[in-house]
Each structure stands twice: as C-alpha cells, then as structure tokens.
C-alpha cells in the first residue's frame, strides 16, 4: 500500500518551446538562399493534383481543400500552368448565322488563330458584297434583262388587251381604261355614245351591242384572270435572273474564301450557306440603304441592324495569340460569367439581340485548358454551381439566359448551338464545403473525383527548416523586401511552429507568413535597418497581437481588479482554476475561469449547471458524464453513488464547449467530496477519460499564457503554474515571457498523465494507490474520497430504508 507522493517534476524551459538557434541555419542572410521551386509540406495535395492533371477522362476534376492562406490557389495554378505549357493550344470557336433557323446560331471550330482570320475575311466579304451586288444589279446587262422580262409581261397583257380592243372595234365597241379596271362602251363614229343616243337605238341594236359587250367582258375577264399567272411567271423569271446575277456577284468572293478553307469542311458548308442566303435574299440586300464609309456594318447597330450583319461571325474564343492551353481563374463565377450570356440592346422599348451579342464565359475561355474557381463564391452565386455541374455532366456549354433555365422567360431569344466542353477544373475551398458537398450532393463526387487535401502543417526537422528558410527567401525576393538575417529567419521558423500549435511542426500557411515578413520589413525600415533581424520579427509578432488583444486585456484587467473572481493563491475546497480559449477573429487567447463543485447526499447525479441552462455544448456535457462515470467506477463500484454534485463555471455568461475542462471539474469534485482544498496557485487544463487518464487538448499555449499573464499581473510567487496533459508537451511553443519566468523559477508547468498525479500537485496530498486489500492508504486523497462516498451511501441507505431490488416486491 503506497501512500507517498509521486515526484512531480515541472517541465524544463527546453521543453516549453522549440528554440531555433540561428547557428543551425547555414547562411548569413536570405540573399544567400536559392529560390524554392517546389512546394513544401503538401506532398499529398501535390500528388493529387498531378494525378488529376494526368487523368484525361471526364470527372477527374479537383477540389483543393484546406484552410485559407496556405497557398492552395498558387499551387493549383502553378501545376495547371505547367500542364498547360505542355498541352496544345485549343481551337478557336465562333458563332455564325444559322440561315435555316436564325434563333439557333451555329458554332464553327477553327484551328487556333484562324478564327480571327476568318472573322476578318467575313468582315471584308460583308464590305465587298454590297458593292458587288450593286454594281452587278445596276449594270446595263442586268437591267436590260430585267426590263425585258417585265416588258414581256406587260406586252403579253397589252397584246391581249389590244386584241380585245381590236375585236371590239368592228362591233362599234370601245375599250375604256380606268385605274381600277376596264369598261366597254358602244361607240358611234369612234366616240362613245351618250345615254340619250343609246336609248334612241332600236331594240335590236341595243341588244346586239349589249351581247357584244357581254361577250367581250367575258373574254376580258379571262384575260385578267390570266394576268396573275403571267405575273407569277415574270416574277419567277426575275427571281431566276436575280439568282443568276447574285451568283455572279458573290460567287467569286465565296470561291476565293472556299479555296482558303478547303481543309475545314464546316467552314465550307457555312460559306455555301452564305452563298445560298445571299441569293435567296438578294432583293432585300440590294434594296438596303447604302451607308457611308467602309464600316457599313457597324458591330453595335450604330445605324440600325444591317442585313449584311448576318454574314459576319462572332469570334467567341480567339486563341490566336496563345502559345499554350489556357489557365483561367474566374474570381466572380456568376452564372453568366461562367457559361456566357446573351446581351440585349434596348431599342424603342424593345430588347433586341443577335448572334453577335453572344458573349463567352469562363468555360469558353478555359475550354481545352484549365479553370480555377473558388468554392464559396461558386456556391453563393445563384445557379452557378448547378450550371457548372450541368455543363460538366453534358460535356458541352449551352448558353441560356438564367430566366430561361428557370422557365421564367417566355420571350423569344437565341438558342446558340452548344459547344463541346473539355476542361480540367479545380475548385479551391475549405474542408467543410468539401465534406458537405460530398455528403449531400451526389453529383459532386462524380464530377470532382480528386481531392487535393492541403495540410496546414508539416514535420519540422533540419531539412525542412532549411527548405522553409528558402521559402522565406523566395517570398522576400518576390515581395521585394529587405533580406532577413538568419536570426530573423530563425524567429520566423519559431513563428511557423507556433502557428501550428505544435513544436514539432511547421505551418504551411503562406498568407500569415507573408504578413509577418512584410510587417517585419516595415519595422526594419522604421529603424533604418538594411537587414531584418529577430528583433524586427518579434516586433511584428508582438504588434500583430497588440492590434488584436484589447478584449484579452479587458478580461485580464477585470480579473486583476477582482470583478472576475480568480484566485491565484491560497487553497479552497471544491474550487479550481480552469482554462479556456477565446477565439476572436484571428486572435486566440487563454482565459482562466473559476470552476466550483458542491456535493450533497443524493442519487448519484452530477449536475452540470452549464448543460442545465443550455450554455454547455455536447462535448462539455460528455466530459462531465465521463468524470461522473469515473467517480462511480472507481469509488462506488460495489454500492450506489449516493451523492448529488453540481459543477459550475463561475461568472461564465456565454456558451462553453469542449471537454478540456473535464479534468479540472473532476479535481474540483474530488476536492469537494474529500474536503481537501485545492491550491489556487495552479490552473488546470486537460480532458479525462473513464480511467482517470488525462488527455491532450487544444490551445495549450494560449491557455498557459492566459494564466501566466494573470499571475504575472499579480506578481509571480514562484509557486504558480499550470497543469497540462503530458501528451500536450510536444505542442508547447510558449511565449518568451513565459519561458523567461520558468527559466527564473517563477512559474511552473506540470505535465500530468493521470488524475491521481494532478490531484497530488493541486492538494499536496498523496492520491494513494489501492492496496492488495482493495483499500486506499488511510489519509490519502482517494481514501478520503472513497470514505466520504461510503458514508454518504450509508446515510442514503439509512434514509431510504432497505434497498429494494428491482422486480422483487
């Protein structure tokens, strides 16, 4: 039976913080270091990106996940750029008129650079065609042939009328013409007779005249009914003439173009369509008013839409100047900016559009290459995510107004022919979005098969230290900052370790590192330093904290003023200093909290006040249940736990989450049960399991510094310290001020593995180990606890009478 106390040794200063000795770094300043071409610490992510880039099958797109500021964008884009440099330049795309259905412009795909050439060719064609048509249709030859046709029609009619007139003459009947028709009238001596003279005619003469007129009228009507047929024949003849003339006018222009594009069958088809359309619409084309200047077909309807405009092409994607596949980053991935849009122009209260107002989106620009998007932006832009998925699933880009997609648009608009899509996409975002999409969007994992998981940290060792120094040097040169000496770089390395909250790791965070370098450079400049040293780096770190620590100071102040009750000396039963971390924006700090425990006779409940008032989160409640289980199993295995305990975070007005206070709560409870006071010069952090083992928690450095600052504010006594889980020792990267105090023996940090170990430090009493007889040593803390619990069980039994076994009456 052991009752002596375990020797609890505080951590040595070396264990509290990894110190990077400048002489470990084999350079004078960062000027001596080469640029770092590779990425450090992201092997997994880099391998994933490389794999995705190599996979040409659909769906092998990338979701680059990880916290902000660790270089996801940079790394993804760098890999895309490398792959793009080895990929062929994609084709040009353009929209051209669909002469069969003007609402559905067609696409043409041309080798890179030839799109612009073709566009220019068609602009010139549009300029040349009106000239050619006019000169041909105004030529004497055309007019002669046209007039001959028209005259043929008129002569045919006039001839028929003249025959009727000639037939009427022997009957003394005249054909009278009016603008709306013809009339026959009886004549005498070549002149139409008056009604009186007509009446004076004999009945026989009148009847004869009337019969002749009726016969002539009948013949004339037949002739006039034939007139539309003759007119139609004449029109057809003119149409054939126009076709022939138009063919002559544009044929050589088209043929010239056809020779230029013999290797592109679709372009040839389009040119054939243009030829057919010019011929079909030649009358409208030649009657279009001539506009001054060569640019008669101004791109933006300057003089109203031109019929010739339809022959121009809309060069949607021009890769003529590219020497590699495109890498596009769309920083505002709205629906329109992703898939393209159809613009409209308001004219006289009407919205007009045509194929020239189709605008490309990021998918068009990146087609045949690579596209980078931000997950959060993509998901917050209405319909952008759905549209992107649809395009990727269908493997083509369809430009549709969003209102049409939603069924809200009933007006006629364009339906451009979809363009085949072949693009590698990387979405860059945080892990939460990745996991949510994986969980709730079944299409996500089908379309983004590759997760490039970026780590926030990587192992710290001599090799990595040097690589990190090269990274620092690279960034310094890129940002054109002053060189850092090795002491400065060493301090930066310590900062990188502190960023991870782990002395054995370095942070991969680029953004925070850059901020530190820039700010250290700034302070060096203030001091007219040519080289940035450790002092400037430390100044930058302190200044960053100083800009954000108002709330910490206010809390500290109120503790020191006694408004917030935290003891740092003396000993109190059922009271302990717990530690929590407050995260305000990018700044986190530790805050001591008083935790108290009270016990009384009861039915074994441990009442968690925080949970009762719904201020405690589930993890905190779990911690309380665990310590309750620990109490029962260790001290009341054979009898009912007959206490009712209550635990509370004093002066806590917000929610409490996490189980890092569960060890402190257990200490307080043990103190309350045993009646042994806890020294208030200590603060405690760490969670506990059912076996009484103390487990690692987060924010260890902030918590230590939080209690240290309180103690320092009141004056360090040399007895004060913090109990931390032993498994957190490797995470220690405490601030220099703490380190200095520990080195001076004015502050201690104890690594604790078990509750027994911790309670001994806190109470100064041995916890005691159960002997072979199953009993704890008399006087030990465990003995006191167990004895008190037995007493309470007895009291409870006496109070309740004999214990009834369930089910037995």
């Amino acid at each position: 039976m052991r009752s002596s106390m375990t020797e609890n040794v505080p951590l040595s200063p070396k264990e509290l913080c990894w110190h990077c000795a400048p002489d470990q770094l084999d350079f004078e300043t960062t000027d001596n270091l080469q640029d770092l071409g590779d990425v450090i610490g992201q092997n997994r992510a880099v391998a994933s990106i490389g794999f995705a880039v190599a996979m040409r099958q659909p769906g092998y797109n990338i979701y680059a996940l990880g916290p902000d500021g660790i270089g996801k964008h940079t790394i993804v884009r760098r890999h895309f750029e490398q792959a793009a440099a080895e990929s062929p330049v994609p084709d040009d795309y353009c929209y051209v008129s669909n002469f069969q259905d003007s609402r559905k412009p067609r696409t043409l795909r041309l080798p890179p650079g030839r799109g612009a050439v073709f566009q220019n060719d068609m602009v010139r064609f549009v300029q040349d065609v009106p000239v050619g048509l006019r000169s041909t249709f105004e030529s004497g030859e055309y007019r002669t042939r046209q007039q001959a046709i028209q005259e043929g029609f008129r002569e045919r009619r006039e001839k028929a009328l003249a025959e009727i007139e000639a037939e009427a003459q022997p009957h003394d009947i005249a054909l009278l013409r009016t603008p709306v028709g013809f009339a026959f009238g009886p004549t005498r001596d070549g002149k139409v007779i008056s009604p009186e003279d007509f009446q004076s005619l004999s009945d026989e003469e009148r009847e004869r005249a009337q019969a002749a007129i009726e016969g002539l009228q009948e013949k004339l009507m037949k002739i006039l009914q034939q007139t539309p047929v003759w007119m139609k024949e004449a029109q057809n003849a003119i149409r054939r003439l126009n076709d022939e003339t138009a063919e002559f006018a544009v044929g050589h222009l088209i043929e010239t173009l056809r020779k230029k594009y013999t290797d592109l069958p679709k372009v040839l088809d389009y040119l054939n369509d243009v030829r057919r359309d010019v011929i079909d619409n030649v009358e409208a084309l030649i009657s279009e008013p001539e506009k001054p200047g060569a640019n008669r077909d101004a791109a933006e309807f300057e003089d109203g839409p031109s019929l010739f405009r339809r022959y121009r092409i809309n060069l949607l994607v021009d890769n003529g100047t590219a020497d590699r596949a495109p890498v596009v980053y769309e920083d505002d991935p709205t629906y329109d900016r992703l898939l393209g849009r159809i613009e409209h122009r308001a004219e006289m209260g009407t919205l007009l559009t045509d194929l020239h107002m189709i605008r490309p989106g990021a998918l068009h620009h990146a087609n045949g290459g690579y596209l980078v998007l931000d997950a959060r932006k993509l998901l917050t832009r209405p319909w952008a995510w759905e549209a992107l998925k649809r395009a990727l699933l269908a493997e083509y880009i369809r430009i549709e107004p969003i209102a049409q997609v939603l069924g809200l648009l009933s007006t006629v608009t364009l339906e451009p022919e979809p363009i085949a899509l072949n693009v590698k996409i990387a979405i860059v975002g945080d892990r939460l979005i990745y996991y949510l999409l994986s969980q709730y969007d079944p299409e996500f994992t089908r379309l983004f098969k590759v997760a490039a998981d970026f780590d926030e940290r990587f192992d710290r060792n001599d090799e990595h230290n040097l690589l990190y120094a090269r990274l620092v040097a690279t960034l310094i040169r890129k940002e054109q900052l002053r060189p850092f000496d090795r002491a400065g770089v060493a301090r930066v390395l310590e900062f990188a370790a502190r960023e991870t909250g782990d002395s054995e790791k370095l942070s991969t965070g680029i953004e925070n590192l850059l901020d530190l370098l820039r700010e250290a450079n700034h302070w060096a400049g203030k001091d007219d330093r040519k080289v940035v040293g450790a002092a400037e780096v430390q100044h930058a770190v302190d200044a960053q904290i100083g800009r954000l620590d108002r709330v910490r100071d206010r809390v500290q102040e109120e503790i020191l003023r006694g408004t917030i009750a935290i003891d740092s000396e003396g000993a109190v039963v059922g009271q302990i200093n717990g530690l929590s971390v407050m995260q305000l924006g990018s700044f986190a700090f530790g805050r001591p909290s008083r935790i108290t425990a009270r016990v009384r006779l009861g039915k074994g409940e441990v009442l968690d006040m925080e949970r009762e008032v719904e201020l405690g989160g589930p993890l905190h409640s779990k911690g309380v249940l665990i310590l309750s289980s620990f109490l029962s199993s260790r001290y009341a295995g054979e009898r009912p736990l007959s206490l009712s305990a209550s635990l509370v975070f004093e002066q806590s007005y917000g929610g409490i989450e996490g189980d890092s206070a569960s060890s402190a709560e257990l200490y307080a409870l043990l103190s309350a049960i045993s009646g042994v006071p806890i020294k208030q010069c200590y603060a405690v952090t760490g969670s506990v399991n059912q076996h009484g083992q103390v487990q690692a928690i987060g924010g260890i450095n902030e918590k230590i510094e939080g209690f240290f600052d309180l103690c320092a504010g009141r004056g360090l006594t040399g007895e004060q310290g913090v109990l931390i889980p032993a498994t957190n020792v490797k995470h220690l990267m405490v601030h220099q001020r703490v380190l200095a105090a520990v080195e001076g023996g004015r502050f201690q940090i104890y690594p604790v593995e078990t509750i027994d170990q911790g309670i001994e430090i806190l109470t100064g009493i041995s916890s005691g180990v159960r002997g072979t007889d199953g009993q704890y040593p008399v006087g030990s803390l465990n003995y006191r606890v167990e004895t008190r619990l037995m007493e309470m069980a007895e009291k409870r039994r006496a109070f309740n009478g004999p214990v009834r076994m369930e089910g037995s009456e």
Partner: protein, 276 residues
C-alpha cells in the same frame, strides 16, 4: 466652245399627262429630269375622260376590275369621285417630283375627249412627254397620243418604256440646228454619248450636212461618232438605227425625210424626241 452651245433649245414648257398608270410615274420622272436640264416649266395635265363618264351613264355598262372575278357596277358619280382622288394623287406626285428636281411646275385638270383636251393645251414652244410602247399604239389612248403626236404644234418626246439610258443619243440630222442643240443637250442631261447620223439623198448634201455638224458640234466631247447616210430610205435608216442601238433618237418633224424616219422608227425600240 462650239456653236451649238450658244443656242439653247427653245422649250419653255414640258407637258406630261398624269394618271395612275405606273408608266405615268416613270414618264413624269423623266419629264422632270428633262425640264431641269432644259430649265423649262413642268406642266402636269390630268384629263378626266368624258367618254368614260358617258359610258358609265349607259344602262348596261359594267366595270371589269383588274383584280376581281366578278363584274362591278359603276356610274358617273362614282367615276367622278374616283377622278377627284386620282387627280389629287397626280398633283401630289407632280409636286414631289418637281421639288426633287427643283423646277417650276403647274397642274391642270381638264375634262373631255383625251386627244382634244391634249391638243387644246399644247402651244408652240412646248414639249409633250408621252409614254410609248408598240402595243400602246393599238389602244385608244395610244392612238389618241399618236394622233396628237402627228398634229402637235410642238416638240414631242415619246418615252419608250424599255429606254436603256446607257445607249447613245442618236441625232438624225437633216439640216436643222435645233436638232443639233437638242442632241447635245440631251446627251449632256443623260450623260450619254452622241452619235450624229447625217441624212441626205445626195453625197454633196451629205457632205455639207457633215460639215455643218462638225461646225456646230466639232468641239463637243460627247460627239462619239458622225455617220453619213445617203441616199436615204426608211429601210436604210432603220438598218442604221438597229446597228446604233440608240437610247434616244432625235429628229425634226419639219424635215423632208420625216416620213421615212417615222416609218423607220417602227423598227426600233427607242425613245424618240421629235422637234416640231
């Protein structure tokens, strides 16, 4: 400057008959161009055909409309209403064309027999512009026009509807300076080459005529060709004109060879300006 330039054709009025016929519009346009070139007044004449009004009053007369299957009744009142509308339209057309060419104009409405009214309006120094086609000559109106043409105390411009304005102006010269001047003037107005065909029965007369043409038009840029034709017959004139494919033919009705020329004109499809 040649001598012809010093003499301006003495055309003070150009008369054009107006109706709603499409040929009338084309004739009006050309008459206006001519009036602008000759600095003459353009006179539009709208004739309400008394014979039509008379026919409308007959009990059995009915209209055969251009674009209907059935006969339509009509009466003098409806014809008079129609005439008011048509004459107003004709006036507007005249006004528009005159404004376009910036020429002086006037408009007259007359009622009566077509040829009589036309003759009553004409005066010396006028030029009557009429549309012409072969078949028109067979119609009553055409006959009336030709009757007027034969008797008109003035010059006459029969505008053939297939007048091709790039073909040359052919002047049939028989010794009248007015024809030379008119030829040069028309060539200038229409920007056409001028061909002079000197007609004479004898070589000497032909040579003399050639000399006169050279004298008058020698410096004229537009004189593209000068041809002698002797002796003259209708057939020879016709053959020569067919070879020359004239757009406009000019001759003087006072000439001895006018009958042969008139006969020869039946063989060609050209506009004809006969001075009288």
């Amino acid at each position: 400057m040649n001598e012809a330039h010093r003499w301006q054709p003495d055309i003070r009025r150009i008369l054009v008959t107006l109706d709603t016929d499409e040929r009338s519009a084309a004739t009006l346009e050309e008459a206006a161009r001519l009036a602008a070139g000759l600095k003459a007044e353009l006179v539009g004449l709208f004739i309400e055909d008394a014979e039509l009004l008379q026919a409308a009053a007959l009990p059995m007369t009915r209209m055969v409309p251009h674009q209907a299957r059935d006969l339509v009744d009509f009466d003098p009142a409806s014809i008079q209403r129609a005439y008011r509308i048509w004459s107003a339209e004709a006036r507007r057309s005249l006004e528009t064309v005159a404004a376009q060419w910036r020429i002086k104009w006037s408009f007259q409405v007359a009622r009566g027999i077509y040829a009589e009214q036309l003759m009553a309006t004409l005066r010396a120094g006028d030029l009557l512009a009429l549309a012409s086609s072969k078949h028109q000559r067979r119609s009553r109106t055409g006959v009336a026009a030709l009757t007027v043409a034969a008797q008109a105390p003035c010059s006459l411009f029969l505008m053939y509807r297939r007048w091709e304005t790039w073909k040359p102006v052919v002047l049939l010269y028989e010794g009248f300076k007015e024809a030379l001047t008119m030829g040069q003037t028309l060539a200038a107005i229409y920007n056409l080459p001028l061909v002079a065909l000197v007609l004479a029965q004898g070589e000497e007369a032909a040579q003399s005529g050639t000399t006169a043409v050279r004298h008058y038009l020698g410096g004229a840029d537009r004189l593209a060709n000068l041809i002698q034709l002797h002796p003259v017959s209708a057939d020879r004139i016709g053959n020569a004109l067919r070879d020359l494919t004239p757009g406009i033919i000019i001759f003087d009705r006072r000439g001895k060879l006018a009958p042969e020329i008139e006969e020869a004109l039946d063989a060609v499809n050209s506009s004809v300006l006969s001075l009288g």
